[in-house]
Symmetry: C2
Subunit: 387 residues, 2 copies
């Protein structure tokens, strides 16, 4: 057969830094990173895009950034015009925000060797990562995640995306950042829901991969719920590490059908949509974990005791484990999440369930009746544990 | 310093097949490719997006495609709705076409293991490649290039893109196709301009990399101009091979500043824009090559004899080597292409020039006065060689 064969590999590397007060004038970390990258004669530019929720919660942030780069920053040209975009899922729902960033890239002449730095929650990061990925076929993207979820999960990974006609993450790409700066100071102003929300991703990764990590979360559940900063740092560091390892050792751009880190997510994604994104991603994931944990027990994989440990840990962390939308349309609503999940991943349906705490196993079908039973159990459990 | 390090590689492979009558019912190539990919239980889908210019020029194409998949194609589900989009640069200028494809992906449930196949010129391929790359974070993309340029250059590479607010390729990504099918039959209906246009990319790659290939083109210039199909097949095969080798051995996603294959392109891109895309990309590239060849001679790198061989070959192929827009605004127009080129690439200005025929060398600045002289020489040369 007359053909030419092409084969090549592309290498990606980046660091995830842990710090406090990233823009404090005595913290050299961010500046040092930029200096190290400043290899040739060209002066690179840096465009900030910032989550409005962070700007409101941290009123000195904008001034701190300007001040940070005020002294002789001849290694970088920081664009004066700091682009501020509403945080939360709105950032991903409105196509005009993609254009707003792309237009700023154009207006300020940000090239492929310059940077777009995003400061914000997972939603804002997903939006900015996407806009940076498609501008000039990819501008260097720095992530400065400001929520628990984005510091331990979404912000350290390789995915970005926006919603399209209400469909979650319908548009997006796989593009790693050039650096991630996890600044614990940001977390202090999170409201309780957002503080808690990100913990469910850590519970998820622990349940499918690491018994000991689950036991730590279980032991620290009360401290975490009470906003213990040290317990949170430990959790974020460990979870980020697991996330990075998972990406590097597996299928970084998800070309196969397997997607273990989506444990609990088939129902979570649908629940977010069914509630018009009124519940947070992490809140939906907590419910999704509870549902698939119960399902795993019904299959005879998890013992009742193990199941209770999972549910109790999630409850102690402060999560609700039931939402009325689980029962909407006699569960046709949430069940539709299964086919949408398959469609988004492509290939055959692949769902992670729990063989035991710390060990996920994939299945390729789920029984509708068993899912309904699990939902009924969750409803009762929630009633019985709500004071 | 407290940080985590991430590093991984992603491997990409694909074949470029050469064939005739791809959708002839006795040609098993395309069907065999799809069958080989059909590994698991799921039935994959295939969405065609087709260049309207090809549909007009090859009136049996749509029926041929339907017929090709009519018999027991249980390994693939071909979406009945063949999406047809105006060919040429219009395809890349109108944002609604991206949406049209993304909406078809949504409507027909094309997932990440299904295919979007594009049949058309480089413009349509760039558009479809982009839409496929951003849908669901990347759907498998098959390219069926129908012009000389797309068969020997753009269609076998890893780039896609659309124009944004008139800016050429402002939005795009680097994503390889899963397969390319170069069907020589398509070339028979090209108009002379499009037949010729793609040859300039072969001249370009020969000039910077391969003396012998240039000599072949030089020897075959008249045959090529007279639409000799065999000479064209040889040229396309060799040029595609060089293009693939270049990508695999270099910097596939162009993370550095060097972009040797953009020889002649800094002025070409600008000229396309200045003429409102009235001249073809390849026509602009021929002028760009002539310009930078003269500039190389002015630097004392090329001899006058070598320079004449290049200009004569381009003229014999039928290219015009001058356009009035080169002189628009006392050349401020075309010179702006230099800064825009730097900006699009990022980093410092890097321009490929010719040390000799078959050897390109990069420089980091160009002299405005010398460019003006080269333009003046081109104007005179064009006048003296036009009958
Ligand atoms: N790309 C991925 O791999 C990936 C993985 C998981 C989740 N996600 C996405 O992440 C998004 C959720 O992100 P999230 O949970 O970080 O929430 P979020 O980004 O939606 O932010 C929630 C709210 O917190 C505010 N906020 C952010 N930082 C703050 C701070 N430091 N102080 C006060 N308020 C602050 C925001 O303005 C917003 O109102 C979802 O869209 C989800 O799909 C992406
Ligand atoms: N992605 C890359 O790496 C890359 C590289 C070089 C060029 N390009 C892009 O490719 C585009 C130019 O592509 P092109 O030169 O193939 O032209 P084109 O795609 O613009 O097509 C030119 C015309 O030919 C028609 N046509 C296509 N195939 C035909 C056929 N078989 N018979 C009759 N008519 C046919 C089209 O409808 C159109 O009217 C430019 O946008 C350029 O920027 C991309
Ligand atoms: Zn998640
Ligand atoms: Zn070109």
């Amino acid at each position: 057969m007359n053909h030419l064969h092409q084969a090549f590999s592309v290498r990606f590397t980046y660091n995830v830094f842990f710090t406090e007060q990233l823009f404090g004038h005595t913290n050299p970390l961010f500046g040092d990173f930029l200096k190290q990258q400043a290899t040739d004669e060209t002066r690179k530019k840096l465009l900030f895009v910032i989550d409005s929720g962070v700007v409101t919660a941290q009123p000195t942030l904008l001034a701190d950034i300007k001040h940070y780069f005020a002294q002789d920053a001849d290694f970088i040209e920081v664009i004066d015009d700091l682009v501020i975009i509403p945080g939360g899922e709105d950032a991903k729902n409105e196509p005009a925000f993609v254009e707003k960033i792309v237009d700023a890239v154009d207006r300020h002449g940000i090239d492929r060797h310059s940077y777009v730095a995003a400061i914000g929650g997972g939603s804002l990061l997903d939006l900015v990562g996407y806009a940076a990925a498609i501008s000039h076929r990819g501008i260097r993207h720095i992530r400065i995640p400001t929520t628990v979820l984005s510091q331990n999960d979404s912000g350290v990974g390789v995915k970005n995306g926006v919603n399209y006609r209400g469909k979650k993450n319908f548009l997006g790409t796989f593009v790693p950042p050039v650096a991630v700066f996890n600044d614990s100071t940001f977390l202090t102003t999170l409201d309780d829901r957002d503080w808690r929300s990100g913990i469910s991703e850590a519970v998820k990764v622990a349940l499918i991969k690491d018994t000991q990590f689950f036991e730590e979360i279980e032991a620290n559940a009360q401290a975490l719920a009470a906003r213990d900063a040290a317990a949170m740092q430990t959790l974020i560091h460990r979870c980020a590490q697991m996330h990075l390892d998972h990406i590097a050792s597996g299928d970084p751009f998800e070309m196969g059908s397997s997607r273990p880190l989506d444990f609990g997510h088939w129902s979570a994604h649908k629940l977010e949509q069914l509630t018009n994104f009124e519940i947070r991603h992490g809140e939906a994931v907590a419910i999704g974990i509870a549902l698939d944990t119960l399902y795993s027990q019904q299959l005879g994989w998890l013992t009742e005791a193990e199941t209770n440990r999972v549910l109790t840990t999630l409850r102690t962390l402060g999560f609700s484990l039931y939402h009325p939308m689980l029962d909407a349309n006699k569960s046709a609503g949430i069940l539709k999440g299964l086919s949408e999940f398959r469609e988004h991943l492509g290939g055959k349906l692949t769902i992670m369930l729990l063989k035991r705490i710390g060990l996920g196993v994939e299945v390729h079908e789920m029984d509708t009746e068993l899912i309904r039973q699990a939902i009924a159990t969750l409803r009762k459990y929630e009633l019985s544990t709500t004071v």
